[in-house]
């Protein structure tokens, strides 16, 4: 009985410390030092919350760049992955369908053909973004000079490449696209 009693009292003390004081102090420090990051890097346009810079959202409009496929249809609560094996015929079929939907070129970047782990991958490889340049330019009826500016904009938004994978944040790219090339 004394063991249970002691366990209970010690558990209460340690819960107070690790279950309340610790997360609260991280929260207080986070709010003071990096308030945007701690709250999910929300992206706003004209007082409307558009989403988070870290979470992909569905984009089907040809005037936008499209993020990677999501096995969970970009759901967030909870998000989903395909969990399919390389030998699963369904995976092969899905990849073939995605390839056909993107024009069927044999050298399409793999991140456009496969679903991400989180179902919310906010990034594309530069190659996967470049592969969508012609579609976006055509949908926005850009002339040759503007299309060149669009390509330059894309290259400017590439992060990493040296010590980490080169990547482009799709939502932020689309936002800048809308601002620079309005209808």
């Amino acid at each position: 009985m004394t063991t249970l009693n002691r366990s209970l009292r010690l558990l209460a003390g340690l819960t107070l410390l690790t279950g309340f004081l610790y997360p609260l102090s991280v929260w207080v420090a986070g709010r003071r030092l990096w308030p945007e990051a701690a709250e999910g890097q929300l992206v706003r346009r004209a007082d409307r919350i558009l989403g988070s810079a870290l979470l992909a959202q569905p984009a089907r409009d040809p005037r936008h760049f499209w993020p990677r496929p999501s096995a969970g249809a970009y759901a967030t609560v909870a998000s989903g992955a395909s969990q399919q094996a390389w030998t699963n015929a369904v995976l092969a079929r899905t990849v073939a369908e995605r390839r056909a939907a993107l024009g069927g070129a044999p050298d399409l970047p793999p991140d456009l053909l496969t679903a991400s782990g989180s179902g919310l991958d906010p990034h594309l490889s530069p190659a996967a973004a470049r592969a969508q340049l012609a579609r976006v330019a055509a949908a926005r009826r850009l002339d040759a000079a503007q299309a060149g500016a669009l390509a330059a904009l894309l290259e400017r938004r590439v992060e990493g490449g040296q010590f980490s994978p080169a990547r482009i944040n799709v939502l932020l790219l689309n936002l800048e696209l809308d601002a620079r090339f309005p209808e």
Binding site: Y22, A38, S52, A85, A89
Partner: protein, 561 residues
């Protein structure tokens, strides 16, 4: 693989080697009763906790007392997690108004966290309140890790002491590990993670209207504080369902590198700490070398499989994130399975067949290649006892290990600790194969389905917690049966280890003689590595041949399932 990939791997291994002696010294000081200079400000908190618990840190507990306190404390902690999940609908810090978690899943999750397994039958953002996460799961992340360190300390005292009745004080080992090691390291890592973009918020979920007008609910929560300890304490249970693949849990390549390093840092430090605490530093480094060779071997083979298997050019990114890429994802998969962490940054079910099989193989070795915090080292010591015993059989004299005679009772304890999890895995997998409920769970056809079953039981019984996520794990067999497997895999090892420690503490120390089998150097390393491979191979080879190996052969033959 690119030059950046090689640089990433080299930096990782160098960083691991660099932090090992630092953390080892820190752990040895804290477990040995010294308070690190910079942390003396926390000493009043330590005294306050002892007073709150009504315990004395100087109490010297016999092994049954130590084990009794440990089991009681852990089960009570699990009961709190269970109660929180069932009552969260009536409790505060529940902005999304989640109701009670279904009983089977709640029991599974409570056991999963008290045993340091962190198998996820739940999806955090869709079912758990902020209160349940931080004061239930988060607390057990600390305390189950501290429990592992306490057992390590007790075992080291068993070797160090002679003709002694006690193994030290469980309460003091628990409190000191939490207060002086886990808490400061977690606080520092959590802050870095917040800076990188891991959320730490108590706000309700945000309702957004996307660029093209679609509605998006953005889940939030106090994630950073929980992610830090989930990695450092080899827990691995995600704040969000998709764990460290989720951008809110692991937003950048830097956060990914630091989390992967945090997975292995303390288990690696534990090996050096054991050497310092027992005085057998060369032996500890020999164990370390064996672990490192297994780790690098599994890593190399997994990378080869992921890059060279047919279809890799297209499929290697399935279940992976662009900001990490293939190589860091495979490095993580190897780290999280050799250590009994179980967090994932890529979906293991969508790894190439052999890389997925190696992740499973790492788990089935018994979580002793660095392994869980504390538990990896004491599991490895049990394996070393078997190795010494076999060497003793070969030369025909009673074996000695770190100055203690290894007699039949000691060998029995080591054999139970090594073989019990193996038995649980095979029995669980057999039940899954023989029942309709078990066979209905896998989400992929063909040999992969068998791998899913073996992975599930291997992960639970060895307290890893990662999964082939294609398996539907919310049915009764996997929630209730899995809870039993996790308990057996945790306490079925801890109790024999403590009994072993109690017996050798009572012995006199025998000085090493010319006839003693040396337990450091390459000869012992080869013997130990052979014992590890033979135990795992004899137990699991048939199942592995029918699972990942067969799947790989089908894939290179161009046969889909």
């Amino acid at each position: 693989m690119t030059a950046a990939d090689f640089l990433h791997l080299v930096t990782f291994v160098a960083a691991l080697l660099a932090v090992t002696p630092l953390l080892g010294r820190w752990l040895a000081d804290v477990l040995g009763g010294e308070t690190p200079v910079g942390l003396r400000v926390l000493a009043p908190v330590e005294r306050l906790l002892y007073r709150a618990g009504g315990v004395s840190p100087d109490e010297d507990m016999s092994w049954p007392q130590y084990a009794g306190a440990l089991v009681a404390f852990n089960l009570l902690g699990g009961a709190v997690v269970l109660a929180l999940q069932l009552a969260q609908g009536y409790l505060p810090l529940n902005p999304e108004g989640f109701g009670a978690v279904p009983l089977g899943v709640a029991v599974n999750t409570a056991v999963s966290f008290l045993t340091n397994t962190n198998w996820q039958a739940y999806s955090g953002e869709a079912s758990l309140s902020y209160l349940t996460q931080m004061s239930g799961l988060g607390v057990q992340n600390f305390l189950s890790a501290a429990t592992g360190l306490a057992v390590l300390a007790a075992l080291a005292r068993g070797f160090r002491r002679q003709s002694a009745a006690g193994l030290g004080c469980f309460w003091a080992d628990l409190v000191r590990s939490t207060l002086y090691v886990l808490l400061p390291l977690s606080f520092a890592l959590a802050l870095v993670l917040v800076a990188q973009g891991v959320v730490q918020s108590f706000a309700p979920y945000v309702r957004a209207t996307g660029l093209e007008g679609s509605e998006q609910v953005i889940p939030l929560g106090p994630a950073a504080s929980q992610v830090a300890i989930k990695q450092l304490g080899t827990n691995g249970g995600g704040f969000f369902g998709l764990n460290s693949a989720h951008p809110f849990e692991n937003p950048t390549p830097l956060s990914n590198f630091l989390q992967a390093l945090a997975i292995l840092a303390l288990p690696a430090g534990c090996v050096h700490a054991f050497g310092l605490l027992t005085g057998a530093r060369r032996h500890a480094w020999t164990l370390y070398a064996v672990m490192l060779v297994f780790f690098l071997g599994a890593l190399g083979l997994s990378l080869w499989s992921e890059y060279a298997t047919p279809g890799a050019a297209t499929l290697a990114l399935e279940g992976k994130e662009v900001r990490f890429g293939v190589t860091p994802s495979v490095l993580w998969a190897t780290s999280t399975t050799v250590a009994s962490n179980g967090s994932v940054n890529a979906m293991h079910s969508s790894l190439s067949p052999l890389a997925g099989g190696l992740a499973l193989g790492n788990i089935l070795l018994g979580e002793i290649i660095f392994g869980g915090i504390g538990s990896g080292l004491y599991g490895m010591v049990m394996m070393a006892v078997l190795a010494v015993f076999l060497a003793g059989l070969m030369v025909g004299r009673t074996p000695e290990y770190l100055g203690k005679k290894i007699e039949s009772q000691e060998v029995r304890m080591a054999a139970v600790a090594v073989l019990l999890p193996c038995a649980v895995v095979l029995i669980g997998c057999a039940v899954s194969c023989l029942t309709a409920a078990g066979r209905a769970a896998p989400g992929n056809p063909g040999p992969h389905a068998l791998t899913e079953l073996l992975y599930a039981w291997g992960s639970m019984a060895n307290n890893n917690g990662s999964a082939f996520g294609s398996l539907a794990a919310t049915g009764g067999l996997y929630t209730w049966g899995g809870a039993l497997a996790m308990l057996a895999g945790r306490f079925g090892v801890i109790l024999p280890v403590l009994a072993f420690a109690g017996r050798i503490a009572a012995q006199r120390t025998v000085p090493a003689s010319a006839g003693s089998f040396p337990t450091d150097g390459p000869l012992f390393a080869v013997l130990l590595a052979s014992v590890i491979l033979i135990v795992a191979g004899l137990t699991y080879f048939p199942a592995l041949a029918l699972g990942p190996v067969l799947e790989h052969l089908l894939l290179i033959a161009g046969r889909a399932c």
